[in-house]
Amino acid sequence: MAILEINDISSGYGEVQILWGATLALEPGKITSLVGANGAGKTTMLRTVMGLVKPKGGTVTFEGKNVSQLSAHAKAEMGLVLVPEGRQLFSEMTVEENLEMGAAPKRAKARFDANFKRVYEIFPRLQERRRQKARTLSGGEQQMLAVARGIMAEPKVLMIDELSLGLAPVLVLDLFHTLQKLKSEGLTLLLVEQNVQMALAVSDYGYVLAHGKVDLHGPSRKLINDTHIRSAYLGM
């Protein structure tokens, strides 16, 4: 049984339609990656799932419940959390306050202290900067904070848009290891990545989005080794 099902979803901005009936499902406890060219509609998909963009058609089902009509905060409350593109930090609040805000869902409160400790372990740099305003962090530090804030929400499904964006290589490697660890603790992950190679390497299953539709999907291993796919979809 999939934990998150996105069924035949269509959406766009104003008159412009971006998604044309995309379907995808996440297996619980697995890492799924969603790849595709620039402008394919990956970000739009995530925003639509969260309800930041109103779907024009299709449904989103989370843990068997139809959540298409719920607001973003209600979904976050249920454990469906997005680390958005462009970070979207609370720029005038400190690092620590940003993390606190991440723990807004009730379910996150119980594990607040543990999560706090954990994200500082993953990103010691954030601990050093904890009283600094998010606005003044370096690009990479902001990215760390965005991911850390997502983890603070104690999600059941964590969707990350462009995890590796602007991070130093050493950190990217670390981070993918951390994701594996989170997965082993039962978290379900959806990664949207430009670093296709790496995304497919850590994920169990992959979807390829092109022109607002899912063109292709399958176990990551298969995708990554298929030369046709590599050249046609992954630009490799």
Binding site: A72, H73, A76, P84, S91, M101, G102, A104, A153
Partner: protein, 284 residues
């Protein structure tokens, strides 16, 4: 005659200015909405207190508490009806919306109450210390504003709900993604700002006569105070109020009273230029 008297009178009124400004600075700093209905809401607070006192015979200080509750409700209603739709719209839409609300309140208020002055005939007596005469009502108002400032500060910077308020203002979409019900939080903030305005009105009504138009003066002063103290900073509002009050108290000692506004506003602009984020620095 002692300059002390000038100073004390200025400070006492300063507390009240501070609390009148606090609602404005809260809504402005926290929600980034410049609330042009601030003045008329202050006036509604005055009228609410007046009717509670005159018609129902309720003690003004119990009245102020009732006024606070009414103010909170009114604010949430105004938010839901007039502001929610445009809170994320570009540019100054919210400014226009509150301007329209102001027109409605003043229009209806004038029809209902006319602009004839009302007076809450209530006194706590006065005490004379040396050259200084202290009025009971003003002292109570000053104490109340200190309490309210402390409470507001605590709320915004120490409680989770208060932090949600700041988070929503900072980045509404992100707040939603983090599970913060942004619409409710915004309504609450606006409600709080309105509540403060109404309470300020209620307190002022205990010692000044007023009309439905009286709020305008306090609105203007509130703008000045927001700058002195830094927009969005409740402590700053109190501080700014005290400075303004002190100016108003002291300047007449040296100069003709009619120069008070000239000096006051020039100083205001100068301070703005030297310390754009307020004397205390804006806390956001």
């Amino acid at each position: 005659m002692d300059i002390l008297a000038f100073l004390t009178d200025g400070l006492l009124i300063g507390f009240v200015y501070g609390i009148a400004a606090m609602g404005l600075t809260l809504i402005w700093g926290v929600m980034n909405v410049i609330n042009l209905s601030h003045g008329s809401i202050i006036a509604l607070g005055m009228f609410a207190l007046y009717f509670l006192f005159v018609s129902l015979g309720i003690n003004p200080y119990i009245g102020v508490v009732i006024v606070a509750v009414l103010g909170l409700l009114l604010g949430m209603i105004i938010y839901a009806v007039a502001i929610h739709r445009v809170i994320n719209a570009p540019h100054l839409s919210t400014l226009l919306a509150t301007f329209a609300v102001n027109m409605i309140i003043i229009g209806l208020g004038t029809t209902a109450f006319s602009t004839s002055p009302r007076n809450v005939d209530f006194s706590l007596g006065s005490a004379t210390v040396g050259p200084v005469t202290l009025l009971g009502t003003r002292v109570v108002a000053a104490l109340a504003s200190v309490l309210i400032t402390a409470a507001l500060y605590f709320f915004l910077y120490r409680t989770t709900l208060g932090k949600y308020v700041r988070a929503v203002t900072d980045n509404r979409a992100a707040a939603e993604l983090m599970g913060i019900p942004s619409a409710r939080v915004l309504a609450l903030s606006f409600g709080l700002g309105t509540m403060l305005a109404a309470v300020a009105g209620g307190l002022i009504a205990t010692f000044f006569p007023f009309t439905i138009l009286s709020g305008g003066t306090y609105e203007l002063k509130s703008f000045v105070i927001c700058v002195l103290g830094g927009v969005g900073n409740p402590l700053g509002a109190l501080f700014g109020g005290l400075i303004l009050g002190t100016f108003e108290g002291i300047i007449p000692y040296f100069l003709p009273t009619s120069w008070v506004p000239v000096i006051e506003f020039i100083l205001f602009v100068v301070i703005l230029l030297v310390r754009p984020t307020g004397l205390l620095g804006a806390k956001k």
